[in-house]
């Protein structure tokens, strides 16, 4: 494993020990964040799939009505009927903070007072299938907007989870082992220095005693 290129001194040891402590704390926090994000994400995805299934079914039904209407009415009549809408829909978007991911919250606004004011034509020249189609679409619309909200949230959360996961992995598998390795290296180096100093002192002491008392000559 790679270790950092540092001088094996006591000061570096203290520094790296502090860094390791911070890294461990960060790792724990990020891991908690990832787990919680994941839990909420899975819930959201389940909801997303459910709503999507429903919306797709609803739109298909509306399209079926629309096809019938198109076949019994001329294109011009259809144009005249639909191209000047009475209703106008707009959104008020606020943001909700979920684990530091900003997810959108929609609030629908209608131009006319009555949200059901959806028929932009008199009933004289249009087929009743068109009424059905418009009604079906209008019924499914709130769900479609909910789908948009949930699906966007899913996408944003997925991006955040990916980022967090990478950070957790980088800390767990690169940074923290690196610090541990370096700490071990510095400790070994310092210990080795200690032993070297002790042996040197013992040797020097031996030599000094020899100088003073001439043990080796006396033995001879």
């Amino acid at each position: 494993m790679a270790r950092l290129n540092v001088n094996p001194t006591r000061m570096e040891l203290t520094n790296i020990k502090n860094k390791l402590k911070t890294a461990r704390k960060g790792h724990k926090l990020l891991k908690d964040k990832r787990d919680e994000l994941m839990r909420q994400f899975i819930e959201l995805v389940r909801e997303n799939k459910e709503i999507r299934r429903e919306v797709e079914k609803g739109i298909e039904a509306a399209n079926a009505h629309m096809s019938v209407a198109r076949s019994v009415m001329s294109d011009e009549a259809l144009n005249v009927a639909l191209m000047l809408p009475m209703q106008e829909m707009s959104l008020e978007i606020t943001e909700k903070n979920v684990m530091s991911v900003m997810i959108p919250v929609f609030e629908t606004k209608f131009k006319t007072a009555d949200a059901n004011d959806i028929y932009s034509y008199g009933y004289a020249f249009t087929s009743s299938d068109l009424d059905d189609a418009v009604k079906a679409l209008s019924d499914i619309m709130p769900l479609m907007l909910r789908l948009a909200e949930v699906e966007k949230s899913c996408q944003l959360m997925a991006a955040e989870i990916e980022k967090t996961r990478r950070r957790v992995n980088a800390l767990e598998h690169v940074l923290i082992p690196q610090y541990e390795e370096t700490i071990k290296y510095i400790r070994m180096k310092l210990d080795e220095n200690d032993r070297a100093t002790t042996t040197r002192l013992m040797k020097v002491k031996d030599m000094m005693l020899e100088e003073a008392h001439h043990y080796s000559e006396r033995e001879a």
């Binding site: 994941m38 994400f41 899975i42 995805v45 389940r46 997303n48 799939k49 999507r52 919306v55 797709e56 739109i59 298909e60 509306a62 399209n63 629309m66 096809s67 198109r70 259809l78 009927a81 639909l82 191209m83 809408p85 209703q87 106008e88 829909m89 707009s90 959104l91 008020e92 978007i93 943001e95 900003m102 959108p104 929609f106 606004k109 209608f110 131009k111 959806i118 028929y119 932009s120 189609a133 418009v134 679409l137 209008s138 619309m141 479609m144 907007l145 789908l147 948009a148 909200e149 699906e151 966007k152 899913c154 996408q155 944003l156 959360m157 997925a158 991006a159 989870i161 990916e162 996961r165």
Partner: protein, 105 residues
């Protein structure tokens, strides 16, 4: 105040006009890309796009995934359901988890 729009083949999105959405009848992928770029800069909250059109400009749509607005949502058109919408959801799961753990298949 954000607007809601629908984009795709005329016959698929026609009905949305009457309930108050802005509609953009577009069939050419190139034209759709240009229109989308204009809309992303404008104040559109949600853009519904038919799956037929969305399939041909998927890579362009991916660029807007991480933006807070607009939410670009594929919906089935008159030609029927291509499954792109569900695939998109699976894509999110794959991005987050690494593999699609929630697929029903």
């Amino acid at each position: 105040m954000y607007k809601i729009a629908a984009m795709g083949e005329k016959s698929s999105i026609y009905g949305f006009a009457s309930i108050g959405l802005e509609i953009y009848p577009i069939e050419e992928p190139q034209e759709a890309i240009h229109q989308l770029r204009r809309m992303v800069e404008g104040d559109y909250g949600v853009i519904f796009i038919t799956e037929q059109l969305a399939t041909s400009i998927e890579s362009e749509l991916d660029r807007y995934r991480d933006l807070p607005t607009p939410a670009i949502i594929p919906i089935p058109g008159v030609q029927g359901n291509t499954g792109l919408g569900m695939r998109n959801v699976s894509k999110s799961v794959e991005q987050a988890v690494g593999s699609d753990i929630l697929s029903d298949a």
